[in-house]
Symmetry: none
Subunit: 417 residues, 2 copies
């Protein structure tokens, strides 16, 4: 079964609203083995909607429309659907009762616009909306199913889960599909591609690989289609085992995990705690850490030592080291990380100092130069990186690199739990 999603509404095409509905619907359909062929955003314009409906009907056997079902004048989807299916609006008593009930519960008087929401195209199957006033509608024409849903994400989601997906599952034979995303950090996309080329080429025909890079990490998604979900999962897991042997040091997690979350779990398992000293990353590492619910079980706190004064007075970096080597140096990052570990009384610590940019670079230390140190109960390591010349990126890369170095050090020094 193949689907096309059509979102209706000017707000998306003037850039006022990001279309989150399409991705959500696509994710739900995919998990149920329905492939989404295309997603199209069109204006609140009858002719435009008609053309989109006609084109989609020629390409796929399932069309999901969202939007344009509100009570106001600019919502015209229902009228266009009537023309498209050569039917007319009729009053739907059960829908009207649902609407009345909603207004009664909220103690709001009903007006004509609300009453008109109970008008539906005669030939459709009405899908009751328990989260709002506009019902969903299910049409069949030739071999294609057309489903019209309200655009409000909350209402659309309820209708999809309670009405649309159960119906699709019971009415139609659906192919099994299984996805797993492998998260990597510390290797650029092109180097990664080179390193795993042979593995990629030898993947079975029914397992596809996609590269999904973002400033935080490069994600690799494996998607397997076929019969029997259990077998697919097994096959994908086998391929991941092979991949792990090729790039063991770069893989930090799977699917929706974050590097901070994974690192926190490692610390928790080892009953260890963490302190942070940040100069150039300026709080970003701490922000990544505290985005993880429950991090207080392993995270003590941080010193954001943006000025040399704070590096000296709070972290205990010596004035002499700062003078002799400069704030962006191996000597200073080592004193910072050890100061943080001691002052905040933690098992592990991580520290950064660098030139985030856009200014402040010199010949010997260009913008993007960053020193990162990791301290464990056993010893301290420091490493120099040269990232790019964009401040925002340098902060993100430094933060993620620091967490990745920390993760590896925890594993290397305490390989078993």
């Amino acid at each position: 079964m193949q689907c096309e999603i059509i979102t209706i509404g000017d707000e998306i095409l003037i850039g006022q609203v990001i279309d989150t509905n399409s991705a959500w619907i696509a994710g739900q359909l995919n998990m149920n083995g329905i492939e989404v062929y295309q997603a199209t955003s069109v204006h609140d314009d009858p002719e435009h909607i008609r053309v989109a409906l006609r084109n989609a009907g020629e390409r796929v056997d399932l069309v999901v429309l969202t939007g344009g079902l509100g009570p106001t004048k600019d919502d015209i989807t229902k009228k266009v659907l009537c023309e498209f299916f050569q039917t007319s609006l009729v009053f739907h008593e059960p829908t009207f009762e649902l609407i009345q009930q909603r207004f009664k519960n909220r103690n709001i008087p009903l007006n004509k616009l609300n009453r008109d929401q109970a008008l539906v195209p005669e030939i459709c199957t009405v899908l009751p909306n328990r989260a709002g006033t506009a019902p969903g509608m299910w049409f069949e024409k030739k071999d294609t199913i057309y489903i019209s849903l309200p655009g409000v994400p909350f209402e659309m989601k309820q209708l999809m889960q309670q009405e649309v997906l159960p119906r699709l599952k019971s009415h139609h034979k659906i192919k099994a599909i299984y996805h797993k995303t492998i998260l990597t950090q510390g290797i650029p996309e092109s180097m990664l591609a080179e390193r795993i080329e042979q593995w990629e080429t030898s993947l079975p025909q029914h397992i596809k690989l996609a590269y999904l890079p973002n400033p935080m990490s490069v994600r690799l998604r494996l998607s397997a289609t076929g019969n029997g979900g259990d077998t697919l999962k097994l096959q994908v897991d086998q391929e991941i085992e092979k991949l792990k042997l090729l790039i063991p040091e770069y893989i930090f997690g799977y699917d929706k995990e974050t590097l901070a979350e994974v690192t926190g779990r490692l610390l928790l398992e080892r009953k260890q705690s963490l302190a942070v000293a940040e100069s150039c990353t300026g709080g970003f590492i701490s922000h990544l850490i505290t985005a993880v619910p429950g991090c207080s079980a392993w995270f003590k706190g941080s010193i954001i030592a943006y000025s040399n004064e704070v590096k000296q007075n709070i972290l205990g970096v010596s004035a002499e080291t700062l003078r002799q080597y400069g704030a962006v140096s191996e000597q200073v990052v080592r004193e910072m990380v050890e100061g943080a570990r001691k002052k905040l009384n933690a098992g592990f610590a991580v520290a950064t100092t660098g030139i985030a940019g856009p200014t402040g670079g010199t010949e010997g230390k260009p913008v993007g130069t960053v020193w990162i140190a990791i301290a464990s109960p056993n010893h301290t390591t420091a490493e120099k990186f040269v990232f790019g010349d964009i401040r925002e990126r340098n902060i993100i890369r430094s933060g993620q690199t620091a967490l990745q170095l920390l993760r590896r050090k925890i594993i290397n020094e305490n390989p078993t739990r």
Copy 2:
């Protein structure tokens, strides 16, 4: 001029990634008087991309494509473009030099995949990408312009702003349009709408208002169209003067300014400095501050006191206060802010302590309860807020609210420079 946006990539159609590019591009084009007719998401499939290109070319005079330009096998846009424009790939020396420079700066060896990114269709105008390796490409066929951009939002945005929009503006007659965005913080969208309703209704016909809410702030964009850019600017500025009288306390800046940037400028003008103590915001305020280039001129540093131990040992919060009132209390936030001001030797300080969630709430202190304190050289104020129950949102709201309170305190205590 009418545009169609085509986003290429399986990741959107399987629901793994939300397409934020289309809305951003649409917003930018709209601000420059170019209407977006349709946005279409298609698979990494040659035939599908070809059909989308052909259909778009028949409907509009500008087609913007994003995605599918990466170095890996699944990125096929360049090949399809060659077929569509009946041209072939040639090696583009300036692009190769840019790529080489990027790799050299980062001290990473270049491989064949990277080198291949310098191959471009012979007939296109290359748009140099200063944020990544895949160049943008500009084609003209009949009366339609086709622009192909990388899908990575950061790279796409740089190319749009530095290359595409200036070229569109100079090559094509575009109606005069003037935008100004007013940035507010601290008032929900619906209350804001109510408060400025009369002003909104009395706006001249050729000046449109758009509400652009996001978790950081509610932005109000005024767009004036007509002839003569100077007159339009004058008219918009007059409307803003009226608006300022209605909501003086909520407006913090304009257009691309951030609250941290504006606040930093106020401190700098007054030769003041800032220290931060964060508990529930966990580094987010510091991250907002250090996102501002040059902030070292006024920002000293922060203590992220996530554990009570750090609140006591580094900030000097008394054990007795913590025991008696709990970490989320007026007494503790006051001791935190004064500790930070003193320990970090700053003029002003801001502190937060609260329950970000999802767990940790109690009947008296539900999830979302946050205490924020501001200390100046003169005195300390503290205020309690109850935000929602979503961790991420609570952190963002607390951070922005803290900066807004700080901004107001700076102005109130030092009204003139």
